[in-house]
Symmetry: C2
């Protein structure tokens, strides 16, 4: 049931991979340290919790994950969802808040492993691309705006956009000058690093890929410089919020006492966080695996990510998943196996053990700037525009997701996205396309008479029903036939071409039976053509073939030639 | 917007119809009097409310309904739903209970008319045949068991099966002997009337149809005899519960004071009652209309039934809809137009004005017996068995509906039925059928190579995807292609036959793009064939044709001959 893919790849491990994995680990560590501190802050947790969430989870994923290059740890959207869920049950800054975050991580681990064992990875498909894209974009905006409080140095407690903006506005007069200067310069610097540094590095002779990787280490540079400034000029005495003393050392992994009431309150959030984290992680995992012609196994990913979250909770951390930019850096830096993750974990552990005093004077505004710059790259206007052009229902589901995320919250947003998608699906199936079809001259092919120039029979009406024949639309077929009968002249036969009827349910069968009866009363024979195997099996089981006044034809062309010999080419040509 | 079909048929009214309509009205009145009293009792209301609900609604429906023969009034399932909803907000027997029932009727009228104006009749399609059938059967069992208290003469207050059975068991020692004797004899008599009376009447020379109609008047006979017995022997002094004094006269139609808090509590129930009532009414309406080659217009039916419920509320009645057996009797008795309903209304009004003293000694057990015998005929075991053979998902949805109706309640049951149906639909779409297809020799037709003996190309792989290409299954297509690529030898082309892809959404487009890219990296061209018009329109709008490495073919046969000339018959025969 539960496999550990490490047993496969470790046997084929080649010593030449070692350097690649170690180099990638160094680069990912440099990127991960500021991110882990910043995302812990975003989740409303002490910064060291971010480090704890970046050690054991990486090792657990290395044992059970199926991707060779995915880099797990705290990520922006999951941290936001953690803050939203945990602040419902505890006050930020309290031990209860931390305890709830740890419990949420454990629950999320249990949910993911449960889904993996049940092979329920397909559940992630409930989230359509536009809904995911809208969710990520809206969350990114929400995160960026929620971090403005650190840039301005004002207290803000709201969790939805109107509340945050109102809080910011109310406290605008308390803005701390030095904090704003540090924050704004850091944001400017980080944006420049993204776009302006790469060309400079390239001119200095670095390969584009290397330049790209170096540009990703910008946050560390910002941290070093700003921490130096604050420490040197003692800016915290002028109101610049700093990280402060981080306890050295690591918590001993242990299972916290289980609070069942709290667990029950957190389980819906744990399920949503699991699904969102899984979707985000699998999509980057797929992308990277395809580049090296590897594959990832979604159900195994559930186990891997579940193990990572269990490990995070045991080690005093909060929910984690595979990060997009971090995994891309890991991949581009040359990581060959999950051993790179293990090396990263070791380096983060060493950081937590020995380097935390260095972060004492790190301004919180710099961490916020890191988050803002990172998440704004997730806002995907192009995708919104593309979806608008392609499908208005997809666009509506996307916009609903965005609006609900911003105005109500992340959990409500993801649920609204799923609900809208399914409602549109149901509406689409409920309004099937029904076409009268005719022969495309010179072929055995039959198409919609409104779109193509086709030959039709005078006595045999041929219609095509373009949908599964289900309870949602079985009345539509009955109504369409009833309407056609009032419009068309004397008929001897009606052929239903079933090539697009992929499924049939009991309501569909009743519709066919009632059409058959109705036609019988008008002395019109009812035929089916090109019935799909699974549908035919069902109709046979229900004994429909015996009731049918006409026949079931393998090909529609056969049906037409049999029922109306005047259509045969030999009869037409003279 | 709102039409009154009466304006059409009244102009063509023929004096010969008058006798037909009047005769039908007499027979329906005889049937309706005991039913209206009994269903009011089932709804927990005073018996006269049943009469009030059988006057104005019939006139309103005659003005706005589209069926020529539907007989509206109180029906069993809607009465049960009324009892379930109203007992949540008020105690039975109080004026508040009656007020809530009247408000529920008004709300239901507003909901139905609103749906009609929005032309949302299709919403009824959310209820699949098996769910409706299961719902009706389970409600019938629940009603029959809930009426046992009147047969035994014991107090019972539960609303779900376990509570009712437990209550009955607890009070079994309080059983009233004379009541049981009256109840059991009446049940036996009514069952005999159904099955045994008809042959007797036929032997007496009545036509089968006339015998059938007479058999339906059995309840009135039972009422006359038992009322006589109770009055003659003063059985009510021995504990036989009787209807008692019914106030003579009719309430003056008026709008009760609006209680918005109560309205908000009742609106979900009003929506469910409206949909269930509409579905029940439309299904009998369709059946009867088809027999005379008439049609009913679902959206107009919503208006007609909405007007009937508004009228019922205004006249002091409770929710009504078109009744199945009553409409059949109306039809069989020869009713030609809704004027039969108006005549019925007049006769019920006369009854309410002058005949109510006759019902004083009517035993409640007899009304309960009427209900029990009527609803037991609704239990449809054959349909359960048929669905089991035809479709396991339909069967599961049906069983879930039955179980939830019996164990939780009617509203939860109908919602569970809809939820299960949609969940199975989603699950079905999420697991599409993908087939490798080949040419059926001697035709231009292509079918699944596992089901048919077909000719396949060595270099061109042809697959068919049997579902709309949507977010739920777009990954499946990607995975299927990825898997086929590992299984099949060197390919030059892959053709996706799209005849069964009825719709595509943004996630589906992304899947096609990613397959196109993947195949391009392997130097395999990607083609589409037999793309449906609406799908092709979408792909064009998204510019997919420009990205596609291969072509879009009108017919799959064309595609195969073009891409692999060795398949041409001239090349095969030698």
């Amino acid at each position: 049931m539960i496999r550990a893919p490490i047993l496969h790849w470790i046997r084929r491990y080649d010593h030449r991979y070692l350097t690649d994995d170690a180099v990638a680990a160094v680069i990912v560590t440099i990127m991960l340290i500021p991110q882990s501190l910043a995302y812990a802050m975003l989740a409303g947790l002490p910064p060291e919790v971010g480090l704890y969430a970046s050690i054991l989870p990486l090792i657990a994923y290395a044992l059970f994950g199926s991707s060779m290059t995915l880099a797990v740890g705290p990520v922006a959207v999951v941290s936001l969802m953690t803050a939203a869920a945990v602040s419902q049950v505890a006050a930020p800054g309290t031990p209860e808040y931390l305890g709830a975050a740890i419990l949420l991580s454990l629950l999320s681990g249990v949910v993911l492993i449960g889904l993996g064992i049940a092979r329920a990875g397909f559940l992630a498909n409930l989230l359509s691309h536009p809904v995911i894209s809208g969710f990520i974009s809206a969350s990114a905006v929400l995160i960026a705006i929620s971090q403005l409080k650190h840039i301005l140095g004002v207290p803000v407690s709201g969790h939805d956009l109107p509340a945050i903006v109102l809080d910011l506005w109310r406290h605008l007069d308390q803005t701390n000058g030095p904090t704003v200067v540090i924050g704004v310069i850091t944001i400017g610097f980080l944006f420049w690093v993204r776009s302006g540094l790469k060309p400079v590095l390239s001119r200095l002779g670095l390969t584009p890929k290397l330049a790209d990787i170096f540009a990703k280490t910008g946050p560390v540079l910002a941290i070093i410089v700003t921490t130096g400034c604050v420490a040197g000029w003692q800016l915290h005495e002028q109101g610049v919020a700093i990280v402060g003393l981080i306890p050295e050392g690591l918590p001993i992994p242990h299972l916290p006492p289980l609070d069942f009431t709290l667990a029950r309150e957190l389980i819906p959030a744990a399920i949503l966080i699991s699904i969102v984290g899984f979707v985000e992680s699998v999509s980057v995992g797929h992308t990277l695996a395809a580049r090296r012609r590897q594959r990832i196994e979604p159900n195994q990913e559930l186990i891997g990510l579940g193990a990572a979250n269990l490990a995070s909770g045991l080690g005093g951390g909060f929910p984690v998943t595979g990060g997009f930019s971090r995994s891309v850096v890991n991949f581009d830096a040359g990581a060959q196996t999950p051993l790179a993750g293990v090396f990263t974990a070791v380096m983060i552990a060493l950081t937590a053990l020995f380097l935390t005093p260095l972060f004492e004077y790190l301004p919180r505004a710099v961490l916020a700037a890191t988050v803002i710059v990172a998440v704004l790259s997730l806002v995907d206007f192009k995708s919104i525009q593309r979806v608008w052009v392609f499908s208005k229902s997809d666009f509506t589901a996307m916009m609903a997701t965005i609006a609900v995320v911003l105005l109500v919250g992340v959990e409500a947003g993801i649920l609204a996205g799923i609900a809208f998608s399914i409602a549109f699906l149901v509406a689409k199936i409920a309004r099937p396309h029904v076409a009268i079809i005719g022969n495309v001259p010179g072929t055995q092919h039959y198409r919609n008479h409104l779109r193509h120039t086709v030959i039709q029979s005078q006595s045999v009406l041929a219609i095509r029903f373009d949908e599964m024949l289900f309870f949602l639309n079985s009345h539509t077929l009955e109504d369409a036939v009833a309407e056609l009968l009032t419009e068309t002249p004397v008929l001897t036969d009606l052929v239903l071409q079933c090539a697009a009827i992929n499924e049939i349910d009991a309501s569909g069968l009743e519709a066919l039976e009632s059409i058959n009866l109705r036609l019988e009363s008008l002395s019109i024979r009812f035929h089916l053509s090109e019935v799909k195997g699974p549908v035919m099996d069902r109709l046979r089981r229900a004994g429909f073939e015996q009731l049918l006044t006409g026949q079931v034809f393998l090909s529609h062309h056969d049906a037409m030639l049999t029922l109306d010999p005047s259509l045969a080419p030999s009869n037409q040509e003279p």
